[in-house]
Amino acid sequence: EPHLNVLREAMGVMQHHDAITGTEKQHVANDYARMLNRAVGACGANTQAVLNQIVDPKFKRSAPRSRSGLPVEHPAPYPQYKFAFESCHLLNVSKCELTESKDSFTVTLYNPLAHAGHEYVRVPVNGERYIVRDYRNVEVSSQVVPIPASVLNIPYRFSNATSELVFLANELPPLGFKSYFVTRAIDSLDDFIHEAPSVAPTPSEQPLDDQVTHWQ
């Protein structure tokens, strides 16, 4: 609750038209960004707790609190949680420390809509080839795409990633989640192991959007 309140308070301030349109003074705009960043970070603890509970109902832990009972500023991932379920807030400039530095990671997508969805996942990486598998051990075809030079040159991007891994996350359940296990194919042995041709996403008769519309 205290974490959600930090976000509620920030959103309360952001009702002002200046916050919505960015017509406030620059230092006020910077402060709004600071407030929102802190609030969204604090709520990372809530999403972590909820997702861990969904993944493994045995986990019944309240959101972390500091000794003073105030919300922890930027809660670090808790070793006792099975999975950290971290967020990357700079994907819009192709930056994500975890996917850039780890040879194995999971991508979990939570679908907030009330109908099944899909999404082409794009995450910054440093490898040339990756094996993406869903929970049924079905390999999902993926592609490594170069990040445009103009993005690499953004002055304050501070990232080593030069490519993005792209794959289709299909059949995301309504108000549910789906995880993918991503492994960097480091040497030819991996290529040999995974010689099996990658399973292209189920070719749909209609564009995915129409499928959803059709389902509607």
């Binding site: 017509t23 379920f85 780890k102 194995s104 564009p207």
Partner: protein
């Protein structure tokens, strides 16, 4: 130097020899679809009277008509089974990726603008503009906070005889999620990922303002020019437009319905979470 085409089983888009998007082919039918970036120079007023205010945070007031950014775009093509894309460089401070995913029936434009150069002492307001052959008759549609679409008519107001002093900004409207135009045969819709100003200043064309950098306060109280910086340089903005283009057919799902589903998906996107599983084997994880 030659034409380039990317696409999937639903649509293909072509880029002319100067690197500009030039046409779209759906079901074997090719239509004109051109996209480029232009910019308006911000007007500099003395702010003493209403009609002489500078372009600023509260005002969009261009000084004259648009200026083009370049006549020649460098392109780099990336093709694969999951996504095909063209990386475009318009200038040192404007670039874009046009991409088509294997299973989607829309085009994604990921634009990036900034730092906007102001060494010439002139503020600039950058616009992404789409051109088609649709005979839209001065009519276009903009959304109201992502819900209904409001009918707009160029140089017109429904409730009074308009004598337009500002021919450009007087035709600009708030676009929160979508702007569209159509004629009996074609419909073009552009979905945006954040609220932007938009208009249709010529039949068949739509434009959305993606970034602005102004050097004079507009005397509406902030006493500060809209000149956002990061690390001492002008701010770099990056965002997306999604384009749904097609024949105007009375079939289900209608083009408008497809746009709404896409709007839901892109504006209420899946939340992504990452976990380091280096110490796990797949089977343990499964």
């Amino acid at each position: 130097s030659q034409e380039v085409t990317i696409g999937n089983k639903y649509l293909n888009v072509s880029f002319d020899s100067n690197g500009f998007l030039s046409s779209i082919t759906i079901d074997g039918v090719t239509n004109r679809l051109r996209q480029t970036f232009v910019y308006y120079e911000g007007a500099l007023g003395n702010n003493e009277e209403f009609r002489n205010r500078s372009s600023g945070a509260y005002i969009f007031r261009p000084n004259g008509t648009e200026k083009s950014v370049t006549e020649n775009v460098q392109v780099r093509v990336v093709k694969g089974a999951t996504v095909q894309e063209v990386h475009q460089v318009f200038s040192e401070w404007i670039s874009q990726v046009v991409r088509i995913y294997a299973d989607e029936s829309h085009i994604e434009f990921e634009w990036m603008v900034g730092p906007i150069p102001v060494e010439d002492g002139v503020g600039k307001e950058i616009v992404s503009r789409f051109y088609t052959a649709a005979q839209s008759g001065g009519v276009f549609w903009t959304d109201a906070n992502g819900r209904e679409m409001i009918r707009r008519v160029r140089n017109h107001r429904d409730t009074w005889n308009l004598d337009l002093m500002e021919k450009i900004s007087g035709n600009y409207y708030p676009v929160t999620a979508r702007i569209a135009l159509e004629d009996d045969n074609l419909r073009l819709a552009v979905l945006n990922d954040r609220a932007q100003g938009g208009s249709s200043l010529a039949d068949g064309s739509l434009e959305l303002m993606v970034h602005r950098r102004l050097l004079h306060d507009d005397a509406f109280g902030v006493e500060e020019a809209l000149n956002e910086k990061a690390f001492g340089k002008g701010l770099v903005a990056r965002g997306k437009h999604w384009v749904v283009f097609g024949a105007k057919k009375p079939v289900s799902p209608t083009p408008e319905a497809r746009e709404r589903f896409l709007q839901n998906r892109v504006l209420l996107p899946n939340w992504m979470f990452f976990s380091d599983v280096t110490e796990f084997k797949y089977d343990d994880w499964q």
